[in-house]
């Protein structure tokens, strides 16, 4: 790892993170580390019945307890709701109160809240509240929720459907009429918990000026501030949201949550600071969860494997309430159904459904992993049905490099790609042919070994704009203000590399500031693999504008023509006369000291709001080899090769770290993790004792490779990579598992591939006479 801080050549260097000295010393500052004088604590009583009418609530005992300052129920805050803007036409948006009003619809709903002088007292008092419920029938599974006679998840609606959205491209009917073969598949992705190790939390302080300061474990301080202002009916410009160190998010810390609004409301009412930190058990059932989509597809094919058309129907489980982003992930399929293949005739229907479960929303990938899983399993299944080689079938249908920018049948334009190249690299790194020989030899011995491949695309960026300000200070040091705040991605390092490289200074001349709405211009936040694409893009454009202005000031100072000024180490120099140098410090002194060229505005700061109006389409190829113990069903990943193409790489060490982390979560989905609810909606896997998160001993060895296809539509040439592991790895593993089980005649099992599930499938298959081998 290099620590070479030379001014240029910083882009592409594995520089150790500038964040780390503080964090490894235990000196980080997360929300729960903030203590304020006179601070009170908020605690909740959550429902015992996931779906029920509330008959009565008795708060007298709680109110009478010493140290309790407030006890509130839904009736006390009935004017307050979670604001949700519709994303789809005719979308139903049922009320989302902060505390239950008359009924509860999922296990995480709070019935009452308590503010007290200590955490423990608040919890004790919440426990002293008595509630009488009348249980209502629940519906948990989204497909079952669509059946006639299914219980209503939200009794105020007349069906469980939140919205139906469709996308149609080309001529699907003709494609299917001409098909020589139709491959049909039903597949479901398990519900996962994001499980940031730092639980959600807030500290809020009403200021004597009437302002509100909020420290929040969030991925999107600016967005949340806007929503908070709307929810409270409080002026946005009087709210300051600070995202201090944030202990992971993975999508789940994007939205404004009920507890946050209530904490602010009560702090304003009581005139005292309030802290609320979720317990892990609370976090499990109150934080948006991910996946939980069932997909039914038909792929129209020619006998030679040419894809003619695709129909996909998604049934997505939204849970019982909508957060701002809940309706989003299922819609991904409308842009991603064709994957990396030339599919012009395509029809996607998304049916989003309410159930009596925790609300879902973006979780690392947010609809991408589901889309990739669908098309990648479908290709393997179709190849098998047609008796074709699955790689040959992929190659036959790949969008070819010369076709970019390529518009798919669902109307999305991919920027650039070379899918053949990443597949070839993955085959080389995995020694694919050898893996196949090993598999065949193992198969000959009656062992269950399989090899699987996924060749996927991965849209990143998006979600509107991102902002970046580059300011040269009076002393020539550089401050960057970005709307994209970090929760572990290493922004302070990667962004500093970009700006130091562009401005020809050393990294310690650049400070990256983020996560404070008082300091930073309006921004969006960090999610959807957008940081380098959008945050990096905006600050690069801002830096270019600063450089342009500085060039003119420098030229003015040495009485040269601006075109003759070249960027040089630490500033500018006259072309051909390197000793005629102007440093950033001299330029800044001129910019703030009235020595700018005539007609030029003083100062040296530029802000860019960057919106490329398109996403950046990263891609990759993952290869997995798995072994399933025939006796116990226990699966082992024997090899996992990941080739990702995220365009230009700023910091390879950080990119590889993102791949590792994504793969760990993807393997969690493939092998172990599933959030389960009982028939009444009670959380069955609501603690770390029964939700099987990946531990150190569960991670296989990874081989990480790359190809680099620069993004022609981005100032840095970059694409996102944060979700590569959750997108590409699960389908590669799924394809490998099904390959391993093929000799037993098994052609479909949904993730996660736990040992008991595989054991059961193997036993069943062995009981079928034909499958005995």
């Amino acid at each position: 790892m290099t620590t070479d801080h030379t001014p240029t050549g910083l882009i592409g260097a594995s520089i150790r993170r500038v964040e780390d000295p503080v964090l490894v010393a235990g000196k980080g500052c997360y929300v729960d580390d903030i203590q304020l004088p006179g601070m009170l604590y908020l605690a909740f009583l959550r429902t015992t019945y996931p779906h029920a009418k509330i008959i009565s609530i008795n708060t007298n005992a709680a109110k009478a307890m010493a140290g309790v300052l407030a006890v509130v129920t839904g009736e006390d805050v009935k004017q307050l709701n979670i604001p949700v803007a519709p994303m789809v036409q005719d979308q139903k948006i049922p009320p989302h109160p902060l505390l239950a009003r008359g009924a509860v619809h999922e296990a995480g709903v709070a019935v009452a809240a308590v503010v007290a002088q200590s955490r423990a007292l608040a919890q004790d008092a919440a426990g002293a509240i008595e509630v009488e419920y009348e249980a209502l029938p629940s519906v948990i599974d989204a497909e079952k929720a669509l059946e006639p006679g299914a219980p209503l998840a939200r009794e105020e609606l007349n069906s469980n459907i939140c919205y139906v959205a469709t996308k149609k491209g080309g001529d699907v009917d003709t494609a299917f009429a001409q098909a020589e073969h139709i491959c049909r598949m039903h597949i479901a992705s398990p519900r996962q918990v994001a499980l940031a190790i730092e639980p959600r939390g807030i500290v809020v302080k009403p200021e004597p000026t009437g302002d509100l300061t909020v420290w929040l474990s969030t991925q999107a301080p600016h967005r949340v501030r806007g929503d908070l202002a709307t929810a409270l009916g409080f002026p946005e410009h009087k709210i300051r949201v600070i995202a201090p160190d944030v202990g992971g998010g993975f999508g789940s810390k994007g939205p404004l949550y009920r507890e946050y609004v209530l904490a602010c409301h009560l702090a304003l009412k009581l005139g005292r600071p309030i802290k609320w930190i979720a317990t892990r058990s609370e976090d499990f059932v109150t934080t948006i969860q991910g996946r939980d989509q069932a997909m039914t597809s038909e792929l129209a094919l020619k006998k030679d494997g040419t894809i003619l058309g695709l129909k996909v129907r998604v049934v997505a489980n939204l849970g019982a309430y909508l957060y701002s982003s809940t309706a989003g992930p299922p819609q991904r399929m409308m842009g991603m159904a064709p994957g990396s293949y030339q599919i012009q005739n395509c029809h996607v229907e998304v049916v989003a459904v309410f159930t009596n479960t925790t609300p879902t929303g973006p979780y690392r990938g947010a609809g991408r992993p589901e889309s990739v899983l669908n098309i990648e399993r479908l290709i393997d299944k179709a190849a098998k049905e047609l008796g074709l080689d699955r790689l040959a079938m992929r190659r036959k249908n790949f969008i070819r490099p010369e076709q970019f920018p390529y518009k798919t049948g669902v109307g999305v334009e991919y920027d650039s790609g070379d899918y053949e190249k990443s597949l070839a690299e993955a085959m080389r790194l995995s020694d694919y042919d050898k893996l196949i020989r090993e598999r065949d030899a193992a198969r000959g011995r009656g062992e269950l070994v399989g090899v699987g491949v996924s060749t996927f695309v991965e849209p990143s960026g998006g979600a509107g704009f991102e902002s970046g300000t580059v300011r040269v200070e009076r002393t020539g040091e550089i401050t960057v203000l970005t709307g994209s705040s970090s929760h572990g991605q290493g922004h302070e390092t990667s962004y500093a590399q970009v700006i130091a490289d562009k401005m020809h200074v050393s990294m310690d001349h650049v400070a990256i500031r983020h996560g404070d709405t008082l300091a930073i211009q309006q921004g969006v936040g960090t999610f959807g693999s957008r940081s380098m694409v959008m945050g990096g893009g905006s600050m690069t454009l801002a830096a270019e504008r600063v450089i342009q202005k500085a060039r003119r000031i420098a030229a003015h100072l040495v009485e040269a023509a601006p075109e003759d000024m070249m960027q040089a180490d630490g500033g500018f120099a006259v072309a051909g006369v390197p000793e005629k140098k102007v440093t950033w410090r001299q330029i800044a002194a001129a910019a703030y000291g009235g020595r700018v060229p005539p007609g030029m505005e003083p100062g040296l700061q530029e802000t860019v709001f960057f919106d490329p109006r398109r996403e950046a389409w990263g891609f990759g190829a993952h290869v997995a080899m798995v072994r399933i113990d025939r006796e116990t069903g226990k699966p082992t990943i024997e090899k996992l090769v990941l080739v990702d193409d995220c365009g230009v790489i700023i910091n390879p060490m950080i990119v590889e770290g993102q791949v590792h982390g994504g793969v760990a979560q993807g393997l969690g989905e493939a092998l172990r993790e599933q959030m389960l609810f009982g028939e009444e909606g009670q959380a069955l896997t609501g603690t770390l004792m029964n939700y099987a998160v990946m531990r150190a001993g569960d991670m296989p060895h990874l081989t990480v490779g790359e190809t680099i296809t620069p993004n022609p539509f981005n100032p840095l040439g970059v694409k996102g990579v944060g979700e590569a592991g959750t997108n590409g790895a699960p389908p590669a593993v799924a394809n490998a598992m099904m390959d391993a089980l093929a000799p037993l005649g098994i052609d479909h099992i949904d993730m996660p591939y736990t040992a008991p599930k595989l054991w059961e499938a193997i036993r069943q298959a062995e009981r079928r006479p034909a499958a005995r081998s």
């Binding site: 150790r16 993170r17 964040e19 780390d20 000295p21 964090l23 490894v24 010393a25 235990g26 000196k27 980080g28 500052c29 997360y30 729960d32 580390d33 203590q35 010493a66 140290g67 002088q117 200590s118 955490r119 423990a120 007292l121 994001a194 499980l195 940031a196 190790i197 730092e198 639980p199 160190d245 944030v246 202990g247 992971g248 930190i277 892990r280 058990s281 929760h487 572990g488 991605q489 290493g490 060490m653 590889e656 770290g657 590792h660 982390g661 994504g662 793969v663 760990a664 979560q665 603690t687 770390l688 004792m689 998160v693 990946m694 531990r695 150190a696 001993g697 991670m699 990874l702 592991g725």
Partner: protein, 168 residues
């Protein structure tokens, strides 16, 4: 915590990172909250309520313990080291350095617990195999890194320490 609350106060004496403290605590106060809220040592983090995540790991009388699993009163008369106490005169402990060198952290929330577990591991086994490191981390969860670089970080520290125990 707020002085107005009445509780059966229990006096305790502990030495934390070499500094002696005397305090009066509520009997039910967990050690992790005592460290965080009474002593302002916020390096030990709380990540769960079932003793599963290890984010709160500290050393108690030389052994790694999850500070959410014991009461402050149980630590009476104990010697405690937290992540804040690892650096010597501003020089990071090799394990802390290793985490930086090998990108063993992303969000940093699990990191103090990981580091304290690793320090204890290397004290009992100065030259662990990869298997032994992974096994040693069974009680610590990280959701960001996929553990690979954490294992690398600890290997790096073991090599740097050359099999020697430098932490005390």
């Amino acid at each position: 915590m707020a002085a107005e609350i009445e509780f059966a106060a229990v006096p305790i004496k502990v030495t934390v990172n070499g500094v002696k403290h005397e305090a009066v605590v509520e009997p039910r106060t967990l050690l992790v909250y005592f460290l965080r809220e009474h002593l302002n040592l916020t390096g030990a983090h709380v990540g769960c309520d079932t003793s599963q995540c290890g984010a709160c790991t500290i050393q108690l009388n030389g052994r790694a313990v999850k500070s959410c699993t014991i009461l402050a009163v149980q630590a009476n008369e104990a010697e405690i080291t937290t992540v804040e106490g690892l650096a010597r005169e501003g020089v990071l402990h090799p394990v802390q350095e290793g985490f930086r060198e090998k990108h063993g952290l992303q969000c940093g929330y699990c990191t103090p617990g990981m580091i304290m577990t690793a320090v204890s591991l290397l004290e009992t086994n100065p030259n662990p195999t990869e298997e032994e490191i992974r096994h040693g981390l069974e009680g610590n969860l990280c959701r960001c890194t996929g553990y690979i670089n954490i294992v690398e970080s600890i290997r790096w520290a073991a090599e740097k320490m050359g099999g020697k125990n430098v932490s005390r």
